[in-house]
Amino acid sequence: MFAYILRRLGMMLVVVFGASFLAYNLQAYSSNPLSVFTESTAENKEFLIAQTIRDLQLDVPPPIRYFSWLRGIVAGLWGQFDMGVSRNGIPVIELLGQAIPITIRLVIAATFLAIILGVAVGMLTAIRQYSRFDYVMTFISFLLFSLPIFWVAVLLKEFMAIQFNDFLVNPEIPPLSIAIAALVFGLVVAGFTGGTRLRFFSVLAGAAAFAAAVLTFLSATRWFLDPSLGIFGVGFLAFCSAAVVIQLISGLDSKKGLFAGFGTAIAVTVAYFPLQALMTAEATFLNVLAVFAVTITMGMAIGFVVSPIDRRVYIRIGLFTALLATFPIIVDRFMREFAAYTISDAVRGRPMPTLGQGKDLLSPEQISNFWISGLDAAMHLILPTIALTLVSFAGYVRFSRGSLLEVLNMDYIRTARAKGLSERTVIVRHGMRNAMLPLTTILVNDFAGLLGGAIITEGVFAWKGMGQLFNDALTTYDLNLFMGVFILTAFLTVLANFVADLLYGVVDPRIRIRK
């Protein structure tokens, strides 16, 4: 095993070395740093050109210049790491240090959303193969596959930001929109539940009526001006999360599971008012953690007392229900700052931004308020997150659908059914768990690819992250900066491949034997 790891590490270094050599020369030969001077009329033009040539060592051929750059990287071994300076004279490592947190902030929510939604939808389509739901989701995922992200981004800016802000002036939803939205919601729900024609239409009618009622309520109470979930919204969402958690862990026919899950949901809902004391205007991130700590303790305690037998199962139900049900409480707290935020000078009634990463326009008091600055950051994240989620969602849907379908054809699934296990157990325990295995590989790779992968999104939404750095490096012929971004993404990709292989061996014993 040790020899294997060493060999892989050596291989990684060779690959990164080769790739960086390739990229360095590609970039060096395809750009001309002196082109800014061709139209220059400065009197000391000759001097400036000579100076640039000296500073950038342009008289040294790129393949050789590469090694002087590499020396700075290798020097990291004895603590003198040096990525060179950008053409503005700022050390590259400093620029990277500023850009990485921004990019991470941009992509992390989108990645998690895409994974969770994508895997959930993909597995549901696999369970309901060849159903209407499957066909519709397949079509949607193909459509999303084919969408250029910059096009989506511009559409989002127009419809979700500009028109949403216009809508806020008079937040009443026209009846026709309510009808269409309700119908679509009904079709999605009914399409998934399936069944006979009668059941299809009754589910459709029920879901559509529910959606129409909610939307009419939101419109009539001008909810969008001062949104909040309130204790009813929190309670409803808590019950929904409890239902999902119970179904996944113990099945809805387990009485003790129901007690643990719904008990936790009720406890979290009841704790809604007392918990507000933790979330004052002076709160910090620690207070949010404290809220989670309180609810999770409650959930686990309820799971603990429900049954002395199989205690771990019920504790797990309590834990996950509490975890999921607490998010609405936190979101609700942020929402209640929305009205004040909307009328503040920072946004002047147009809260949905089309550009930027937030914080620029807030007053000092607003920045020091955790809830308002958090809301501001969240508002700036919404559009890029939707754009990124939409384009990466489809891949997860297709992958997890294919993966689960393949697993469901396996002999051990037939064995599980033959043993008389319930369909839920067969699919959740034997099917889904095994279908998740190949997902680990693409998950790890995707996380690594994300750092360099949001170039277009960052450009469209004017975020100053890694993608923007890369873009700057290309347009200003900044070779050191370019290589800085490149070596980081390349190294992360290789590392992720390696970790994915190791991880796969850990989660799937069958792979280990073959090695």
Binding site: V15, L22, P148, V154, T489, A490
Partner: protein
């Protein structure tokens, strides 16, 4: 109750097998695959749409190749080119309270909106200075399709060659080739593309497409290699080798035909990826640059005028989506057709018919 259910299930299974067997009786592998593909409705529809788009695009704007100094041109049937400016025509078409250059295309018949079905002078409107937008979009789509096809052909060619060699010979050859593949693979496509586009974008679409093609083969090479690794262990390869076949003959005559499915499917994925990459590069300004246009550069140019003249934004975007969507669906149809485990969804009516048939026979 349970036994009754089981019985109907076995009857179903038997019938299903019968339907499938009956359909494939006496057909060659190729015919079976072709039939499966033709039966895939989404794929056939997409194929039709894609061919129509390509015919429309290429016939409308003609072919313009060669360098700027020595153009080789074949004129298309559309009356305007991307350099003709028609300010009067643009001003003549006004809509939405004074916005000029609106599309004159009208597909609604007279009894709905009062005007009849017509194409008009500028069916997709004009851009801000009066250039016919139909000509621009057709030209842009043509560029994008050309990039797509060239990248696809080069990617499939190089990828298959490298994957086949690595997979067939294995050992040190495999190790070296795969490390080289990794080197290309760790570089994000958009990074390579941007560097290439930066250098070759202004030379026109052909050099750009060729250079992109040289960096688009890695995924395919990996697929082909895996396929070759498994296929070369199979008995028919051993048999060929015992019979004295050369390496070349084994690769081309015995293994490659069996790997066609993988190659075609990965190839279509490559195609739809290529059109998105090209448009993304042009959008960022690294791809096709002015005075030439591509769908991506059109979107990039008019993204800020969305609220005034949205058609400048809708048309190129919808074309990209339409082309990529068609290619994806065709790829899906091909994957299903080549997948031996694939069982199509047998409808209730067919089951019924098969049941009646078997009842009649017995």
């Amino acid at each position: 109750m349970a036994s009754e259910k089981k019985e109907t299930e076995t009857v179903f299974d038997k019938n299903e097998n019968e339907i499938v067997n009956h359909e494939t009786e006496g057909l060659s592998q190729r015919q079976i695959i072709f039939r499966r593909f033709v039966r895939h409705k989404a794929a056939m529809g997409s194929l039709f749409v894609l061919v129509s788009i390509i015919l429309l695009v290429f016939s409308a704007s003609g072919l313009h190749l060669g360098t700027r100094e020595e153009p080789i041109s074949v004129e298309g049937w559309w009356k305007y080119s991307i350099t003709d400016i028609d300010p009067e025509g643009a001003i003549a078409s006004v809509c939405n309270g004074g916005v000029t250059g609106c599309p004159t295309l009208d597909l609604l018949p007279e009894f709905i909106d009062g005007t009849g079905v017509q194409i008009g002078e500028h069916p997709l409107g004009t851009d801000l200075i009066g250039v016919d937008y139909f000509a621009l979009v057709m030209r842009g789509a043509q560029q994008s399709v050309m990039v797509m096809v060239i990248v696809g052909l080069l990617g499939v060619g190089i990828g298959t060659t490298i994957g086949a060699i690595a997979g067939y010979y294995g050992g040190i050859v495999d190790a070296i080739l795969m490390r080289i593949t990794d080197m290309f693979l760790v570089t994000p496509v958009i990074v390579i593309g941007a560097v290439i586009g930066f250098r070759f974008g202004n030379l026109g679409v052909l050099p750009l497409a060729i250079m992109l093609g040289f960096f688009a083969w890695m995924g395919l090479a990996r697929f082909v290699r895996t396929e070759f690794l498994t296929l070369r262990e199979r008995e028919f390869v051993d048999a060929a080798r015992v019979a004295g076949a050369s390496d070349r003959r084994i690769i081309f005559k015995h293994i490659l035909p069996n790997a066609t499915g993988v190659i075609i499917v990965a190839g279509t994925l490559l195609l739809s990826g290529a059109i998105l990459i090209e448009s993304a590069l042009s959008f960022l300004g690294f791809g096709v640059t002015a005075p030439d246009v591509s769908l991506g550069s059109l979107i990039s140019e008019y993204q800020d005028t969305f609220s005034i003249s949205p058609w400048l934004f809708w048309w190129p975007g919808s074309l990209i989506v339409a082309i990529a969507l068609c290619v994806n669906f065709i790829g899906d149809g091909l994957r299903d057709a080549f997948d031996p485990k694939q069982r199509r969804n047998i409808s209730m009516q067919e089951r019924k018919r098969a049941k009646e048939l078997s009842a009649k026979r017995s």
